[in-house]
């Protein structure tokens, strides 16, 4: 269907507290890294796709104007795609369709956030309408707290077991991040450090939760013809999926979450995947909060519903396990929101292109990237492969 599309370049900034650069400079740094990775120049690009979280995150609205020069977009066609936390994935999907449609051959896709210039939780509270939801769902922790609790309640998961599985995810990812030169938080944690951490919203404690990060990610998509000409090891887009749920938080089941399940179905169908646990070599699951990652293992069919804790504790999703998840350290260690899901795509592309350095999963041929957004309302997915 459509034209084949590949990723031929990925760039990331060093994510973290970037007081050393202005916001446009941070964007420029990520864009430049992608150009260098692909050995291309701005003149080679047919169009630019850009997006972030809501403008008030940093106090500048419609930042594609402000960043036009940093994006190297002057005199070029642009798209401005934004879908909350899924923004990064929606950006990648826009780049994919732009090339697949035949309307462009090479597209630069950029996502960014400079969260230390604003108040992210205050901004995110405004995703909620002012009458019913805003008074009780301030920011992300409240939303994900209910999600974790309903998961444990639904499947009769003992509190300790849920805690231990989420704890393992935290310990592993914070350690994994040491091998990722772009990661923000890198930490040697013991299980006790995590389980005794300060409670933020039950059952989440300090180390169950992602940081605020400043960062940019840039990815270059190309047509089959261009990719074969320009890139020794392109990462081919094998499947994409996206699904939006209804807005009112209480109206849908977020545990056996149809929106996430359907997203995976779309992407698996296009990629011809029937047994994700066997056929995927690595997955970058969008995991801003530990329990969220567990729930998505189930929705994506990595394990049976209600069995994510067992599988995690068995090591199925660890670095040496059957399906390593988030070897980059994931969102848990690095979260410049507008870039975050695009980082998942870049990391998946790096894995199948054999460019992931110290966190390379040996022989990875098929990788999954995921984005999650809204008040648990949106899921997006892209599956990448080393061969066409």
């Amino acid at each position: 269907m459509g034209r084949a599309v590949a990723i031929i370049g990925m760039g990331q900034t060093k994510h973290g507290r970037r007081y050393d650069v202005t916001y446009p400079d941070l964007v420029r740094e990520g864009v430049q890294a992608a150009f260098e990775d692909a050995s291309l120049t701005p003149a080679d690009i047919d169009g630019v796709v850009f997006g972030t979280m809501p403008s008030m995150m940093e106090g500048v609205a419609m930042t594609h104007f402000y960043f036009a020069d940093a994006l190297r977009a002057v005199g070029k066609p642009m798209m401005k795609t934004e879908t909350c936390g899924t923004t990064g994935m929606s950006l990648a999907i826009t780049g994919y369709y732009w090339v697949a449609s035949g309307l462009a051959d090479i597209v630069l896709v950029v996502g960014s956030e400079k969260m230390h210039e604003g108040d992210s939780q205050a901004t995110m509270s405004t995703v909620l309408e002012p009458f019913y939801l805003r008074p009780f769902l301030a920011g992300a922790p409240g939303v994900f707290s209910m999600l974790a609790q309903s998961w444990m309640e639904r499947y009769d998961i003992p509190e300790d077991k849920g805690r231990e599985a989420a704890g393992k995810i935290s310990v592993d990812h914070h350690k994994d991040a040491f091998d990722n030169p772009y990661a923000h938080i890198k930490k040697d944690l013991s299980m006790e450090d995590v389980t005794n951490g300060k409670v933020i919203t039950y059952p989440y404690r300090l180390w169950d939760i992602c940081p605020n990060s400043d960062g940019t990610c840039a990815v270059i998509f190309a047509s089959e013809e261009k990719a074969k000409k320009l890139c020794a090891r392109p990462a081919w887009v094998k499947g994409v999926g996206f699904c939006g749920d209804e807005y009112w938080y209480g109206d849908s089941d977020k545990v056996a979450w149809e929106c996430a399940i359907d997203t995976a179905k779309q992407a698996y169908k296009q990629a011809g995947i029937t047994n994700p646990l066997k056929e995927l070599d690595v997955a970058e699951v969008y995991n801003p909060f530990t329990y969220v990652e567990l729930i998505h293992y189930e929705c994506f069919g990595f394990c049976e519903p209600g069995k994510a804790a067992e599988a995690t504790l068995k090591g199925t999703f660890s670095r040496g396990g059957e399906l390593p998840c988030d070897p980059s350290g994931g969102v848990l260690c690095t979260n410049p929101i507008g870039a975050t899901a695009l980082v998942r795509v870049a990391e998946a592309a790096m894995q199948v292109a054999g460019k992931a350095g110290d966190h390379q999963i040996d022989g990875a041929k098929t990788a999954l990237a995921h984005g999650l957004g809204g008040v648990s309302q949106f899921n997006g997915m892209m599956i990448l492969g080393s061969s066409l």
Binding site: M62, T83, E246
Partner: protein, 380 residues
């Protein structure tokens, strides 16, 4: 794989303030366009919306609140922020990719729940240089208008004539926001807002929900006897700081060039039958008409005086009344397209042009003095 995309039908709300809430208004246009085409919500392939975090009644992540009211429940979809014509282009991409047969494109703006547009456009400024001096879209437009008059000898009366033409056209458009019978004197006497811009030369703040159903060639032929085909598209971004730009040579020329190349148009003035131009400030209609090649540089004043852009002229511009009569900031680009589609289908009611309308141009712009432009060409 189909290589053509059609607009099957459109639905829009009037621009005046409505007592319907945000979600009901959007639901209404989605339902209307689906009913008209006989397509059920379940059959729609995906939904691409245009909405902006800052023009959204204080609710951010502007794709979240209306997702289900906008027919998106458990559907694939996406959103464009800023220029709504990009949502149309994205819909076209999705169909051309072969993955979808139908795409619902919606534009969303409930102006009555927003602060003034210029309070919002002030936030386009960078925090270091521009914000300190209070720059916003109207100040930038005033600078541009002054440069236009100084460089080419364009007269204030010529700019004011755009208002007389467009508000005159709006009297026949049931979806227009401003309905005023006015003459040149009224415009010239209206209060100066930002010299040299007068109040009636600046667009109002309006509401606007608009929905368009796109379909692949095969599907479109099943759904309508009068498909309006996608012919060409172009867009272009200019550099950010006003001082670095020549405000009279905008990226509209580049956007139009791309669209014409795709549509195979060589002589736009002759080949285009109707144009809907985004002119939030009256003089911009003249300047943008130059940019898309309806006349030469500096000839915009003569163009309006010649009557060519009137309803009965050789190249009617803004038969809907344009943005001066109806300005739902975010969805206004899609409103331009919706009007062109109705003109081509021959369904524009009292404002239907007397001649055959086969090819139309829809233009959208936002940003200071037109930092970004998009041009779409559609036709029979």
């Amino acid at each position: 794989m189909s290589n053509r995309v059609a607009i099957v039908d459109v639905a829009q709300t009037p621009g005046s303030e409505s007592s319907d809430n945000f979600l009901d208004q959007l639901y209404g246009v989605c339902k209307e366009v689906l009913d008209k085409t006989g397509v059920s919500r379940e059959e729609v392939g995906c939904v691409i919306s245009a909405a902006s975090d800052v023009f959204h009644g204080g609710i951010s992540c502007a794709n979240a609140y209306y997702w289900d009211s906008g027919a998106g429940f458990l559907k694939n979809g996406s959103r464009q922020d800023g220029e709504s014509l990009l949502a149309f282009y994205y819909g076209v991409m999705r169909i051309l990719s072969g993955h979808f047969d139908t795409v619902l494109v919606v534009g969303i703006c409930k102006g009555s729940e927003n602060p003034s547009d210029d309070m919002i456009t002030h936030f386009y400024t960078d925090p270091f240089y521009q914000r300190q001096v209070g720059l916003n879209e109207i100040f930038a437009a005033a600078l541009q208008m002054r440069a236009y008059m100084d460089t080419y000898g364009i007269k204030e009366e010529q700019c004011a004539q755009v208002v007389v033409k467009n508000l005159g056209n709006a009297l026949r458009n049931p979806y227009a926001h401003l309905k005023q019978r006015i003459d040149l004197e009224d415009v010239m006497q209206s209060r100066v807002l930002t010299d040299p811009l007068k109040e009636m030369e600046c667009a109002p703040k309006s509401e606007g929900m608009v929905a368009l159903l796109l379909a692949s060639e095969e599907k479109a032929k099943e759904l309508t006897e009068k498909p309006v085909w996608f012919k060409g598209f172009g867009s272009s971004m200019d550099t950010f700081y006003l001082g670095d730009r020549n405000l009279l040579e905008s990226e509209i020329t580049n956007a139009a060039k791309q669209a014409y190349a795709m549509a195979g148009i060589k002589d736009p003035r002759k080949e285009i039958d109707v144009a809907e131009i985004t002119e939030p400030y009256a003089f911009q209609e003249l300047l943008w008409c130059e940019g898309i090649g309806f006349c030469g540089p500096g000839e915009g004043g003569k163009l309006i005086e010649s009557g060519a852009t009137q309803m009965n002229g050789d190249i009617p511009v803004n038969p809907s009344g344009g943005v001066l009569a109806n300005n739902p900031y975010v969805s206004r680009g899609l409103y331009r397209l919706a009007e062109v589609v109705l003109q081509i289908k021959g369904q524009a009611g009292e404002r239907q042009l007397a001649k055959d309308v086969n090819t139309g141009l829809a233009h959208g712009t936002h940003g200071f003095a037109g930092q970004f432009h998009a041009v779409a060409i559609v036709g029979t």
